[in-house]
Symmetry: C2
Subunit: 684 residues, 2 copies
């Protein structure tokens, strides 16, 4: 039909006929091919590199002659001399169509390139951040056509990039005139386009074509830790990941104690707000140093956090979140300037996006998990559990998604455990107990050598054996149950009943000794009856939350389980199920998703469209409030037994047979699990 | 057609049939009748008062029975007891239709009431400010429907007022929860709706139905003075008007000297920005005290100012405005938070609107004059001159409007004049010189008694006679010309040539003595040759600017002249024309518009639609740059003569015959007007 040469782009497969002389960049734009350019085709940014292919392409039905593109030109030569160009590459804005040609767009020349995530289960991120760089040539002012510099910048963006409306606040306006003149009317601007706004906001401006890259922070603001990823907003690359303790811990270990602090101390909420903002500023400084960038290159920040952290970050008194009906000030996503939150280490015009909250107890962190794990797109019924001081639980499939949160407390993080400690070198993270000899063997963080293997002494020479971390305590309790040292109600047996001297008396209860270094002046590392009780409380809360959602969904089982959270990545699925933390499921259907909340934050940072997506999703999620639901109490009590007082665990039974022991001496023990047994009796 | 009762509203004449039992407020809303209500019909705000009329109305074709409305009810009785209700008035939300009825809406019950302006020539303002109060009942939070308080407030505004989208920034979010609870889920919110935005912004919130009124400031930020009107945003009433000196004067008397200060002193622009913002804060405090309101009741501020003041207010270095091509940073209107300008005396959420600038030399003040005087809606060709340190000049009619500014300098304000002073008690403001005796008589500010009348001594007993103000010097110069003491070139004659001893020598030139109190230790008040020269420079600039616009419009005369500016209100039209400040026109076609820039600011404050209007108008105005136009120089030189070297003044000639004198002695005088005479010779 057309006698114009045919241009075929790979990998997209897009094709079209273009007149001889059409630059490849122009052809790409007209076809909607994803070919990058910051300078808009002026041959100075080199972002539009392409690789022409020559020869016969039967697949495409074309033969590409050696002269299918215009000759290598002086602009390309200058770039080659100055920066170097990979063999075979051309600049798309310089190479012009002369005949039929096949053009490959390498990944680094694609704007919307995919960032491949390590966790195979999760989706990749398509790069499409809210903030982009644009190089423009602005018309000089003319007395006879008196428009402002901003209006001429706007017109340049419209003519050269098709961008319709821009706004600029005072921080940009005060710098606009000198920067335009320094750049001799050529400038690079960073434009932020919110998905809620029709305007592009000028957030930064550089004279000429900038060498600076721009970055964003994805921050998971947790009750205990603040974790951040620093991402290159061009390609999504994580340049550094870092974390700090949340300094609000000094006002209270868990959320409710912080809310209490705010209620009991006038101005206490302000103190906590200042503390967390200061910590974020420190983290911004540290992560920039680590990545070797300057903090003002950070132009965007996305926050995910639970509702109490959300309010304290914003400077809102969280008192209403501490009492029914747990009313949020606002549940919708928020966008603002970083400086409004006193985040003044990053660029003064950095833009903040905070994901929406699902409910008064189910925050933006749960929304982020939903964004990362997409239960609402799942064909099968998936349970997503994000374990932290507070657990966020999602259950759903394409039909419907439910969410709740459950106050697990800090036991899973090694707190409130007699030998507990944070995950650090020297902490026991893996334990096995021989069911016959009842002897333990273990590994400490930092080494793959087990304690009964050669060289273990060498391994622990520097760190020692200092305690048990969160994943270690879960394995210890589950192994004790499997080895018959612990009965279903959670009672540790005596030396007499278990046949091992490692079960030592402690008051009227018993403890199991894992490691005794007291003779060498070291610690006694044991699991006490109190530790078991703390773990039982935590796991019951987690299980009861999941079970409540299953009731609501009217199901008895789930198809698969995703353990999210830093913690989820380290625990053994089998042990978690022996403990009864999660509902019964085939072990190969239990996977770990790492820090899904952090990943959700990163997705929202790198892809602005995902913000609209999660806002819609959150509106569709059904929230279940655990705090007032009578069945939650019932589930909680039944879940106290290990693995459970009433629910069968058929999948677990296929791989593990739990000893049928009972260490109840008929009196004295008034631990929480009693209720479970009583209820079972009542039901029987 | 309908058997439902007929309801007729006056003064609008709107009518419709409504079922028995329909509240009058509901009927008014459905017909689009302008009937106010803050509480939305709950019988608590009393804004919807109406007056029913009874009897036969042949004009409307109805008879209104005594029982045409429902009976006076307990809500009305309660309001009557508590606050009192004017006889015959009812509450529109309580009184319901029972039969055909005629309802009068009194002016104070109309939302869009007109504010009658004093100056008959100018249009009235229809009240429709950007900020309105709304009373709402918000649904209480419910754990089973977990939405945020803000989202429920939004829903209440939507259900009860039809308002679609709201936003609230952190300053409101931090107060939202306690205020909602204090008001027991009834609150009054102030919503700001920009004409550029689709969202309503919550700027203030009160528990219950507030007793507070809300106010706005219209500020005319001039080089010399900052003038403000404090307006009630409900009815447009000006509660107080006040002004302060612009403290930037210490950095330079006129605009160019301030630009120079910024260029010569690093950080000088910042100093000037701080100075002006501090002054505005002080003025806000003072005007609030004067009006007896609290400054946080001020929710809006509109600024008009010239481009240099505009940039310095915004914190932008004005250096580019001091040199060709006089590029503005931005010419479009601006909207921002008052706190972004450090204006922190008024409400922390007060919204600022700054009118658009027309060009680098023609600012938002000229735009405000265009808004107030509407040359673009004039059938005849009108010249609007706003005289200040810088004069803004507009020329146009329905077809086309031109604008320019001209650097008149401060002579018209009494500065740079030997006996000049600001307009204050004791200053000479009116002068007459007897053409025969050459004796002057005068009046001082604060009295109507002339100096040759009985009781004058008594009048000046406290103030004395201290100098000549701007309008006084114009009259003095014009009277000197009419009395033959001054020749067309601007030379003062000697005693010998003029025949009066009041013409005294001063160096190689002469001065005319108006009042000599030296014998009593008082001042010698005279008009020197230097004063004449300063006035000539100022009036030439003004005339040349007007003439340049007339050239551009291709006309030789204008139909009418409007003198704007505080100054314009005080000068005598005849004297201004004798001086040749303005082009020749019939005297009854020269009117004064008072502070038109300030009025424009007040219009933009009280009517948000006028903001869009002036933005459009400014885009259509043709800007003429005087600084680079060769003809401006030519006009300037010709305009130096009094009244003019070349232009005929036929209308002036009809009422005044100017003596044909010439005091040029053939040497020594090298005043600027020489050029004009030379040119005249050349043309002749």
């Amino acid at each position: 039909m057309s006698s114009d040469p045919l241009v075929i782009f790979t990998p997209s497969g897009k094709r079209g006929h273009f007149p001889v002389g059409t630059p490849i960049l122009t052809a790409a734009r007209q076809l909607g091919v994803d070919l990058d350019s910051v300078c808009g085709g002026r041959g100075i940014c080199s972002k539009c590199q392409i690789t022409p292919s020559y020869g016969e392409f039967s697949k495409h039905g074309v033969t590409v002659a050696q002269d299918a593109l215009s000759e290598w030109n002086s602009v390309e030569q200058r770039y080659q001399d100055k920066r170097g160009l990979i063999d075979g590459r051309r600049l798309g804005c310089q190479a012009a169509v002369q005949g039929d040609v096949v053009i490959d767009v390498p990944p680094e020349s694609q704007v919307h390139r995919q960032v491949v995530r390590k966790a195979a289960s999760s989706r990749n991120i398509v790069m499409d951040p809210a903030t982009h760089l644009y190089f423009v040539e602005v018309q000089e002012p003319d007395m006879h056509e008196p428009t402002g510099d901003l209006e001429r910048l706007e017109r340049a963006l419209q003519d050269q990039w098709g961008i319709e409306h821009i706004t600029a606040d005072l921080t940009v306006l005060t710098r606009l005139q000198p920067v335009l003149r320094k750049g001799q009317w050529q400038v690079t601007v960073a434009l932020h386009k919110s998905h809620k706004d029709t305007c592009h906001k000028v957030v930064e401006i550089w004279p000429g074509l900038t060498e600076d890259r721009i970055y964003g922070l994805a921050i998971d603001l947790g009750s205990t830790t603040i974790a951040a990823h620093l991402c290159d907003l061009r390609n999504g690359e994580v340049k550094a990941s870092s974390g700090v303790m949340n300094p609000q811990i000094r006002f209270g270990e868990d959320l409710m104690s912080r809310v209490s602090y705010a209620m009991m101390n006038p101005g206490g909420d302000k103190e906590m707000t200042t503390a967390v903002r200061t910590a974020i500023n420190g983290l911004t400084e540290a992560i920039s140093t680590e990545a070797g960038i300057r903090p003002f290159q950070i132009l965007e920040t996305v926050f995910v956090c639970n509702p109490v952290m959300h309010h304290l970050l914003l400077g809102i008194d969280p008192v209403e979140l501490g009492q029914a009906p747990f009313a949020l000030t606002t549940s919708e996503s928020l966008a603002m300037n970083a400086r409004d939150l006193d985040l003044n280490v990053m660029n003064e015009n950095a833009q903040v996006y905070i994901l929406p909250c699902i409910a008064g107890h189910v925050g933006a962190d749960a929304a982020a998990v939903a964004l990362a794990e997409e239960p609402g797109k799942s064909e099968d019924l998936v349970l997503v559990v994000d374990v932290g001081t507070n657990a966020e639980i999602l259950l759903g499939n394409k039909e419907r998604v439910l969410a709740c949160s459950s106050p697990t407390g800090p036991a899973f993080e090694g707190a409130q455990i007699s030998s507990g400690q944070r995950a650090a070198p020297g902490a026991i993270e893996r334990i096995e107990i021989d069911p016959v000899t009842k002897e333990p063997r273990f590994r400490v963080i930092g080494s793959d050598t087990w304690s009964d293997e050669d060289g273990f002494e060498h391994v622990i020479a520097t760190t020692g054996i200092s305690g048990i971390c969160g994943s270690g305590i879960i394995e210890a309790v589950a192994e004790m149950r499997m080895a018959g040292l612990l009965d279903p109600s959670g009672l540790i047996g005596s030396a007499e009943k278990t046949g091992t001297e490692r079960c030592i008396p402690e008051g009227r209860t018993h403890a199991y000794v894992i490691h005794d270094a007291r003779a060498d002046g070291g610690p006694l590392i044991s699991v006490t009856q109190g530790d078991i009780r703390a773990i039982q409380l935590a796991k019951s809360a987690l299980y009861a939350g999941a079970r409540l959602l299953m009731d609501e969904m009217n199901v008895e089982t789930v198809d698969r389980v995703v353990l999210a959270g830093a913690f989820g990545a380290h625990i053994s699925n089998k042990h978690a199920m022996v403990l009864g933390m999660i509902p019964d499921a085939p072990l190969d259907k239990v996977t770990s998703a790492g820090n899904a909340a952090g990943t959700g934050a990163r997705i929202a940072l790198c892809n602005v469209g995902s913000r609209r997506e999660i806002e819609t999703t959150v509106g569709e999620i059904t929230k279940v409030e655990t705090a007032i639901e009578p069945r939650f109490q019932e589930h909680f009590i039944n879940a106290s037994a290990i693995p459970h007082a009433t629910d069968p665990f058929p999948e677990l039974s296929k791989i593990v047979t739990l000893p049928d022991v009972n260490f109840n001496t008929g009196g004295g023990d008034t631990d929480g699990e009693g209720g479970g047994r009583r209820r079972r009796r009542r039901r029987g």
